[in-house]
Symmetry: C2
Subunit: 246 residues, 2 copies
Amino acid sequence: MAPPRAVGILGGMGPAAGADFVRLFVQACTAYLQDHGQPVRDQAFPEHWLVQMPIPDRTQALSGTPPGPQDPAPHMLQGIGRLAALGVRSVAVACNTAHVWHSQLQGLFPQLAILHIAQETAAHLQRQGATRAVVLATAGTYRTGLYDEALRSCGIEPLVPDAAGIEQLMQGIYDGVKQGDLALAAQRFGHVLEGMRRQHGDVPVIMGCTEIPLALPQAPEAQGASLVDPAWILAQALARQAYEAA
Amino acid sequence: MAPPRAVGILGGMGPAAGADFVRLFVQACTAYLQDHGQPVRDQAFPEHWLVQMPIPDRTQALSGTPPGPQDPAPHMLQGIGRLAALGVRSVAVACNTAHVWHSQLQGLFPQLAILHIAQETAAHLQRQGATRAVVLATAGTYRTGLYDEALRSCGIEPLVPDAAGIEQLMQGIYDGVKQGDLALAAQRFGHVLEGMRRQHGDVPVIMGCTEIPLALPQAPEAQGASLVDPAWILAQALARQAYEAA
């Protein structure tokens, strides 16, 4: 097996989710090695870099026009630029909403493969034969149609909560996970999920904000649901980039 | 409050422990902000970098003399050098055994504060009034007297398992955690802990290898034990470096 390539992770949005993404990436590399009959030892893992830096809030930026000093894109570019200088060849961005700026970032760094979390997730669900999927996300992600577009282009109908449900998700993300209150987050996320399951039955549920998987799986309303974690799908795609890309 | 300074984490020894260290650092920053009455939001966290790279096995290097191409020190220097180039001012090394090379690394990077996991842990236990402590670690760490020295200089007597116990710990670390078999690891670690508790009673137990806290706390034999996680102590020290150092 050729030595794996160095890869990078842009985090900080929020930091707990970024840390969790590294855990998922290590887990994905372990699974990759095992699936390919390779011994799992420290030295078999690809070099990988994580940067977590203060980046202006994505949803907040998307509510103002035009984007001002609170535009997150230049901050993301600053981080990705340094990852590129370190010699990484692929980058994963550990934040769903941030992917609104994906084409801008990718356009400025043609030497990097910047993975796209919603496209990876939609392709994964398509392979599994899904035709509908619930999307749980931030108001910013809904507003940009990030998952709508990726899912529809894979023939999957996106199902989204109403305005009150989105407000509950935002409370779970901002007052819950981002402030370390996982119980509050699980309560808010669980309540929204319960409503969506009652309305739509058992369809895949995309946890389309990296903060949601940190609390929703622990909610009683999530038991038996087909939860899909885009961060896990992205981590597996990044592992493949490290081990396979030429 | 002045903007926090950028800090770095050298990981990959092993990668699961490095990922967990980022989680602990984020948790330590959250606690720091809360303790100082500051709002916890993404932008309040210090810029931090993690590099996980293939580094030759530390314990293996310590069993051969003189160190050959499998010497981990140059690899660690390569990682720390790039962290320094990124502008970090303090570095934590997410591996206990690797601290054998601490003075060499610190000597070559006088512009960085490279924290010392065993000294931070010993100082923490001294503040708590401990006079004895069980040390669970790799054969490499025991051989170098890393914790022995740090603890004794703080007036704390180190208590270590016998050769058979050390062999059990090594199995838990290498065949268990490093290969993703946490159940095996918990069984091996728990067995050694049980023996030490029977012999020495309820003294603080230093989990002096970053792989041990990933499995020991789940072992039934660990219930009620005074487990001390040096990685958590180190993460808190790194958070103070980011928020406080001038």
